[in-house]
Symmetry: C2
Subunit: 161 residues, 2 copies
């Protein structure tokens, strides 16, 4: 019994709904935040990581890890957020190659303003749809898949959460 070269019906029943989710959920997340706050979900997530830092700052590489982004992508995003006054770049004190991203007062205000709507959106479309036991199930499933997508655990979430 070798593994078939195409999906089995059982695999398909699991994979197709997940693939649908991968299309629809990011779209909904972006749509709400862009409509209400002119932020992409990635923008919001990056800003919220910065807010959670005690010093309100993170090295580019660290922020890229926490947001699961490539460095070029983060660099472009930071450039745009910088132009809007939500963050600024600051040379890292201990390494002349490195750059810290610092969230500004205005950036913090923006996150605080955007949070309730975004959280309500995630609850409405995801969390409230789940039974209590499904929270843990989803967590375990996501973590298992992430462990494969990021075997070295470079993306912080794999380790931390």
């Amino acid at each position: 019994m070798s593994t078939p070269r195409s999906f089995t019906p059982d695999e398909r029943r699991t994979w197709v709904p997940l693939a649908a989710l991968l299309e629809l959920l990011p779209r909904q997340l972006d749509a709400q935040l862009i409509r209400d706050e002119e932020l992409t979900h990635f923008d919001y997530f990056a800003l919220s990581m910065l807010v959670l830092e005690p010093e309100h700052r993170l090295r580019m590489t660290a922020l890229a890890s926490m947001t699961n982004a490539t460095l070029p992508r983060l660099s472009h995003v930071v450039t745009r957020l910088e132009k809007r006054g939500f963050v600024r770049r600051d040379p890292a004190p201990d390494d002349a190659r490195a750059t810290d991203v610092v969230i500004t007062q205005e950036g913090r205000r923006k996150v605080i303003h955007a949070t309730p709507g975004h959280v309500a959106n995630v609850r409405h479309y995801v969390l409230d749809a789940l039974e209590p036991e499904q929270f843990e199930q989803l967590r375990d499933i996501a973590r298992s898949v992430l462990a494969r997508l990021d075997p070295e655990g470079r993306m912080i979430v794999t380790r931390q959460v």
Copy 2:
């Protein structure tokens, strides 16, 4: 006890890994297919829907539903696939407004050629990471969320799978 305006720690433990998955998994799906076949995952999925049709054809609207795409997006994708000879547009016989997309012989060959690598990729990063009981858990979770994202069930997968 009102619901907090920010995520609770428990919510965060579920949501953050899922959000990470939404970033990393589509990237991996596209990367493999683009590298090996010069197809996006969306291209592949659309072509594979067409292959599964008895007549190898679908109305634009129907294909958009099955692929969870907006119509403009599908239209752009079909234009590109058409230029590469994988599909062609055919006026719908029964409605002069409508267009059928037909997969060509070459398109079918392309899907057949691309399938083993793509399926292996999905197995490696997703399906093989799951325990048997997690298949059903993931299916149920995905379907619950999809039911919210698409309440009218316009996206075929919500109904059919």
